[in-house]
């Protein structure tokens, strides 16, 4: 069809600034697609959920082909808008499944528990004290499930490990995250799970280790960040672009495109820690990684709020 030739018009709507780790992965994937010439891309950031349906509608009215974003906080209202614009494709982060009645809405989520689990194995190997600190923003499923997978990974190496869990009640307060991390270090933690900005900084200052989440920050903290569980939005987005271009976009759950086997998640390269991680852990990571990819092993998805142990 004619659509396949010209770039798709894609718009992103985000409820936080694009610096936020989670959203940044979507943003980067879209920029990459634009770079390739597959799409033209524009976005609205920091959009309050109150305004979200209006912004969706404005983009739809303007004839965008594909609208991406996150509707966790506005599921019902967003689906109403989707229903009104059957010619526009919507690819939305959502807690819910696709709805066959809404053929133009596909959903995704960052199911990177596989990678988190693997990063946990490394953390378990690196901790001396068996005491691990975890600082989160809010206990939402997208955060909880990664924390649980990470803890499960840690226990593979250190069944006796204890965890300190704190939520700071904000996505953007690095000083507060840092203070919280400091308190955990005082309390014996020697590896930190850096869900928020600010945590790795505390680890760096105190000379202990950190595990990254969603994004790779090792270049900023070469001596500190041992491993990171990365989310790659590219498979999700690229598939959607393909479907829209082919005219076959339909209601679907793109969650699987965040799985490791689809290339939606990965453990960041060891980089500066190459060779410094106990071989036993590296071997286990490789084995589990293979098992995950061939489907012989699945990491449990647990969305409950984690607590200290």
């Amino acid at each position: 069809t004619a659509r396949a030739q010209e770039p798709l018009k894609v718009a992103g709507i985000y409820t936080v600034p694009v610096e936020q780790q989670w959203v940044s992965r979507i943003h980067i994937a879209a920029l990459a697609a634009q770079e390739r010439g597959d799409i033209t891309y524009t976005y609205s950031e920091n959009t309050a959920n109150t305004d979200y349906p209006r912004v969706m509608r404005e983009y739809a009215e303007q004839g965008y082909d594909l609208i991406i974003g996150e509707i966790f906080g506005v599921e019902a209202e967003a689906r109403e808008v989707v229903a009104e614009y059957p010619d526009t494709a919507f690819l939305m982060g959502s807690s819910f499944k696709e709805d066959p009645a809404l053929a133009n809405l596909s959903v995704f989520d960052n199911y990177i528990q596989d990678a988190s689990y693997l990063s946990g194995i490394i953390a378990g190997a690196m901790t001396q004290s068996g005491n691990i600190g975890m600082v989160g923003g809010f206990p939402i499923p997208e955060v909880n499930r990664l924390m649980h997978a990470f803890m499960a990974g840690v226990r593979e190496m250190r069944p006796d490990a204890t965890f300190q869990v704190s939520f700071i009640g904000s996505w953007f307060d690095p000083p507060k995250a840092k203070e919280t991390a400091f308190a955990m270090i005082e309390n014996g933690a020697d590896v930190l799970y850096a869900e928020r900005f600010g945590v790795s900084d505390a680890a760096k200052e105190k000379g202990i280790l950190a595990i990254g989440n969603v994004i790779d920050t090792q270049s900023d903290y070469p001596e500190t960040v041992v491993a990171s569980a990365l989310w790659h939005f590219e498979p999700t987005l690229d598939h959607a672009i393909e479907m829209v271009k082919a005219g076959s976009f339909t209601a679907a759950d793109y969650g699987a495109y965040s799985f490791m086997k689809e290339g939606g998640a990965s453990l960041a390269p060891y980089g500066t820690f190459e060779g410094k991680i106990p071989q036993a852990a590296v071997d286990l990571v490789n084995a589990k990684s293979a098992a995950i990819k061939d489907g012989s092993f699945t990491v449990e998805i647990n969305d409950e709020e984690p607590s200290s142990s």
Partner: protein, 349 residues
């Protein structure tokens, strides 16, 4: 420099400063657009189009004005009595919480019975939330600016707790939000398919009611008297403490209706991000309206139109969306200045 009241301002005097303020706001927006690489010539048209250019745009503007009318009224009622209620945000959430608790199936009633009961319950909750700072003020002399401000933080954390725990939607896949309201608890839409709901009409009714209270009832008279001069009011036999408490109840109740209207009318569920600062914007709306209840309607519509219009404009000319808030702030500051200049002349001394 000195300000001198103008006895009989003419037409030019009353219209020119506000017009200039608007013009200057657009000028600022145009410059900012230019800086960010957008086309400044399009700014004005795109804003108008985005705010009132279509039925959808217009109704969205009214929709965004709805909670602002409630919080604007709440603030104006309180400020009139010199009760500095900076906590409309908390009271809004109080109303929202109650609506979510009672509207999700707890009361098995039909809409005509359920909706008013929910509204009343919300009013009571908001009233109670403001009653605490009001009592601390009247009993212990604790400054209410501080207590109401801090209550915003506390209450939001409380809501966060509720949404993580007792109120969490079991069907919500873990996301912190409440269960959806039953159909009987929803305020119907005014136009099918568009978001504007009867909460807007309720807001207008409340503004009219506050105006009637202000001008026609003894309570209104007492509230104004206490606000203007509490010492004289007390001397004249007005029960000052009781009036402050009644004012708090009224103000808190109005703010809570914003939460009720957003949950029952717009969202259908309680979330932590229900209000993008409607409580704080209510202060601006109230002051822009010079604390007049009917003026609150106009001010809220103005604020909503600028925001919705500028937000749409930012997308259409491709500049960062933050320009909407800049325009809103600029328009507000220049507009209050302009309103002053319609009544005062600046004299150099």
């Amino acid at each position: 420099m000195r300000l001198e009241p103008i006895a009989n301002p003419g037409l030019a005097r009353t219209t020119l400063p506000p017009a200039l303020a608007l013009l200057a706001t657009f000028g600022v927006a145009a410059v900012l657009a230019l800086v960010a690489g957008g086309n400044p010539a399009l700014v004005f048209g795109e804003i108008v189009k985005g705010a009132v250019g279509s039925k959808f745009a217009l109704l969205e503007t009214l929709n965004r004005a709805t909670p602002l009318i409630f919080t604007g009224l709440a603030v104006s009622v309180a400020f009139r009595a010199k009760l500095w209620n900076i906590g409309a945000e908390a009271q809004l959430y109080a109303g929202a919480v109650v609506t979510a608790v009672l509207g999700t199936g707890a009361l098995p009633w039909a809409a005509p019975a359920l909706l008013p009961v929910l509204a009343l319950a919300a009013i009571c909750a908001g009233a109670l939330v403001l009653l605490v700072p009001a009592l601390l003020k009247t009993r212990f002399g604790v400054d209410e600016v501080v207590t109401t401000l801090l209550f915003n933080f506390i209450f939001l954390l409380f809501v966060s707790y509720l949404l993580d725990g007792p109120l969490k939607d079991p069907m919500g896949m873990g996301w912190p939000k409440s269960a959806r309201l039953v159909a009987e608890a929803r305020l119907p839409r005014i136009v099918d398919g568009l978001r504007l709901h009867w909460g807007f009409a309720l807001a207008l009714i409340c503004a009219a009611a506050v105006w009637v209270i202000d001008t026609r009832t003894t309570l209104g008279f007492e509230m104004r008297a206490v606000g203007q001069n509490a010492e004289a009011a007390r001397f004249a036999g007005i029960p000052v403490t009781a009036v402050i408490l009644k004012t708090a109840l009224l103000s808190g109740g109005l703010a809570a209706l914003a939460g009720y209207s957003e949950v029952a009318g717009l969202k259908g569920a309680l979330t932590l991000d229900l209000s993008p600062g409607f409580g704080y914007t209510g202060i601006v709306v109230a002051m822009l309206a010079m604390l007049h209840p009917l003026g609150v309607i106009v001010a809220a519509l103005f604020v909503a139109a600028i925001f919705v219009g500028a937000d749409a404009m930012s997308r259409n000319i491709g500049v960062p969306t933050y320009i909407a808030d800049i325009m809103l702030a600029t328009a507000l500051l220049l507009m209050v200045l302009a309103i002053l200049l319609t009544r005062f002349r600046v004299r150099r001394d």
